[in-house]
Structure formats: C-alpha cells, structure tokens
Symmetry: C2
C-alpha cells in the first residue's frame, strides 16, 4: 500500500488532491489566476513562502500540466509562470473548494 497519495491510486479524489496538495499550491494558483507572474513576483506576493518551496511547487504544477513556464533567455534570467489551458479547468473546482472553505471558517468562528 502506498504511504502517500502521491503514489497514485486509481481513486479520482486522491488523483485530484495529489495535484493541489502541498502547503502553498492553492495560494500559488490563486495568485496566478489573476495573470502570469515572474518567480520573484510570486515569492513576494505570498508572505511566508520560501524560494525553495515556491520552486518545488511550481515544478510539480508544471509537471502535472497545470502551469506553463515561459523562459526568456536573458541575463539575469526572466521566467514567467501562467496557468495552462488544462490548468484553467481546475480553477472552477478550486472556487467550489474555496466557497465551502469560507463557510467552514465562518462556522469555526461562530463556535467560540
């Protein structure tokens, strides 16, 4: 049995979660849904994230086909990330998740 869901079960729920699961992936996609950003712009727009984690998550998302990496061959390097056509199919799902999450947060706050 796989220890992690990332090792890919045939369960569609697990398959979906393996794509957005990661401490910062939701936030990254959220930022990029307003338009493409450079690596350093993303880093500055997400308080608390480290460069290392940002790049690891970006690579995951590119590998899964959600993001596209545009590199302009220049010095200093200039890399821009954008949501792919396929990635856009994920955005409405994130919005559904977000809507439920918002009511959940309200429920938690009412609870005390």
């Amino acid at each position: 049995m796989p220890v992690s869901k990332k090792e890919m079960s045939a369960c569609p729920i697990d398959a979906m979660l393996s794509v957005i699961d990661g401490r910062w992936k939701g936030t990254i996609l959220w930022r990029l849904s307003d338009g493409p950003l450079r690596t350093s712009e993303l880093r500055r727009s997400i308080p608390g994230i480290t460069e290392r984690m940002l790049i690891r998550h970006l690579q995951d998302l590119v590998r899964d086909g959600i993001l596209i990496r545009h590199q302009e061959d220049a010095v200093p390097p200039c890399v821009r990330y954008s949501i792919s056509k396929y990635g856009w199919t994920l955005v409405p799902v994130l919005e559904t998740i977000c809507t439920w999450g918002r009511t959940h947060l309200q429920r938690l706050n009412r609870g005390r």
Copy 2:
C-alpha cells in the same frame, strides 16, 4: 509560519483541504455517502486501511462536525458512523473534485 495547513490559516482553500486531507478521508466519506456503517464494516470495505488509521481519521471527521458517532451501549460494542447534516454540504464538493480527478486520470493514461 505554520508548517502544516492544519494549524489553520485564514485561507478558505486551506481550511477546506484540512478537513478532507488525510490519506483515507476521501475514501471514508465516499463509503459513508451510501449510508451509515459500523467501524468494522468500514475497515473491511476499504482495502489497505489499518484499524489505527481508520479510527484516527474518523475521530478527526467527528471533531470537524462532518461525521456523527452513534454508540449503542452493548457488549461487544457497536458504533456506527454517519455523515452529519453539515457533512452533507461537503459531498457535492467532493463530487466536483471527483469529476475533475476522473478526467485527470484519463489524461494521465492517454499520456503513455
């Protein structure tokens, strides 16, 4: 900065994922969406899960208000879990996740 999303950020996406995140939680909810089950029935219906993990996840889900634990005081003990009214608001979200996950799995299979 929290190491884990479980420590509760204000991000609605993270809040939602913290509820269903866990190696087997999706599967547990999936099984229970067909109706209440006893602990041991759940365990037998989910191949690969251990009793320890099942119980840990069940307790999380009860704590989050998603499941209800019905105990009949009898020997041997008889405990049944069902999805709460609040938990049912989560089910359509899981279905959305599942739908996307299914197309994602198809895409992965076409890719080789």
